[in-house]
């Protein structure tokens, strides 16, 4: 434990820090200097603060003297080179944006003119009707996922469409029971 000033009240530690950094007005700085001469506690504190500042100065020097690496992430360019590239790109953006904007206006204008010549094309749009072969959604058992119901009409295999419909019905309307035998099979055998 370091001895304090014999009769003066010690200044606040922050004040001593201010003094170490040279940020006290001259008059205040002289007062602190005078106190430090006779106060071991504050003198040691001041010396420790200055020692820390010296260590920071060494670290700072090393960092500032370090060559800035050409990071592989930047393909060998320096920081300033990369920034200037971005800046110059940024500077040309308004020109490009204006050109693109003008082009869009022209294109949209042409489209409007063209659509204005043939109004029937617009009004002829109707809601799509069900295509042939689309079955209604079958009633599936609770909890099961209903598969898509559309059966596309294929002119080549259309002769088997009845069979395919039957297979569809068997597969999805009447799922295969656990024993692998369908009721319809049994019925058909009986017939």
């Amino acid at each position: 434990m370091y001895e304090r000033h014999p009769f003066e009240k010690c200044p606040d530690d922050v004040r001593i820090l201010d003094h170490c950094h040279g940020e006290l007005p001259t008059a205040d700085s002289l007062l602190v200097e005078g106190h430090l001469r006779d106060c071991e506690h504050c003198r040691v504190l001041s010396a420790e603060f200055k020692s820390l500042s010296s260590a920071f100065a060494i670290i700072r020097e090393d960092i500032e003297e370090t060559p800035l690496r050409q990071s592989p992430r930047t393909h060998g360019e320096g920081i300033l080179g990369r920034v200037l590239k971005v800046i110059r790109t940024h500077a040309t953006r308004p020109i490009i944006a204006t050109s693109v904007g003008a082009l869009l206006v022209i294109v949209i204008g042409l489209m409007i003119l063209k659509s204005g010549d043939s109004p029937s094309e617009i009004t002829s749009m109707k809601t799509p009707t069900a295509s042939p072969g689309v079955l209604s959604t079958p009633q599936s058992s609770a909890g099961s996922i209903t598969p898509p119901t559309e059966v596309p009409s294929d002119p080549i295999t259309d002769t088997g469409s009845a069979n395919s419909s039957e297979e569809f019905r068997l597969a999805y309307v009447e799922p295969l029971p656990e024993d692998g035998v369908r009721l319809t099979d049994i019925l058909s055998e009986l017939e």
């Binding site: 922050v14 820090l17 420790e48 670290i59 920081i79």
Partner: protein, 190 residues
């Protein structure tokens, strides 16, 4: 021509669209901003990214620099924000360790006035210890300490940069120094 102009004058020219003036500012501030970013980010790669982000952001917002505050406060504020944004993106914790600077020679640095090599070695060892200890400081305190010690800003300039009251800045720097003294423990600072 631009090298003779002060920061505020160059900023004024840059506001008017003079890219060369902005380039001159970047050349002047690159190392200092790198040192600050290194202190905050803890490694050279992230620091370089943060510097790049800082200058890009500075270019985009140079028109908002009215000259009410010093250019140094303004660019420091941008750099601090860039580092904070980058850290959030990386989702790193506040306590990151300094890694060794690649290519840095840790030979004893002999000062001009002190020819005692023992003091130089002690200085280097202390610097290493301080580097490790600084990394463990709470982020807001570390930031204030870095701005004070790495950037040599006055308390008033730090107050403008961080937009905090002067008393808060002083308190944070003092708390940082106090914590460093405690963390360095038995190591002699004298």
């Amino acid at each position: 021509m631009h090298s003779s102009l002060d920061d505020e004058k160059l900023a004024q020219l840059a506001r008017g669209g003079d890219i060369d003036a902005f380039d001159a500012l970047m050349l002047r501030w690159e190392r200092k901003i790198f040192a600050l970013c290194y202190g905050i980010m803890g490694n050279a790669d992230d620091a370089q990214d943060a510097v790049q982000e800082s200058f890009q952001s500075a270019f985009k917002t140079i028109r908002t620099f009215r000259g009410d505050s010093k250019f140094s406060s303004w660019i420091h504020r941008i750099a601090v924000n860039a580092c904070i944004t980058q850290k959030r993106k990386q989702k790193r914790l506040a306590e990151t360790g300094f890694e060794n600077l690649d290519g840095v020679s840790w030979e004893p640095i002999a000062s001009g006035t002190d020819s005692n090599p023992l003091h130089a070695i002690q200085g280097k060892e202390l610097a290493l210890a301080v580097r490790s200890a600084v990394a463990t400081l709470p982020e807001e305190i570390r930031l204030a300490v870095l701005l004070k010690e790495f950037q040599n800003l006055t308390f008033q300039e730090i107050s403008e940069t961080l937009q905090l009251p002067l008393s808060t800045v002083k308190s944070r720097v003092y708390t940082g120094f106090k914590l460093l003294r405690e963390k360095l423990g038995g190591r002699k600072l004298l």
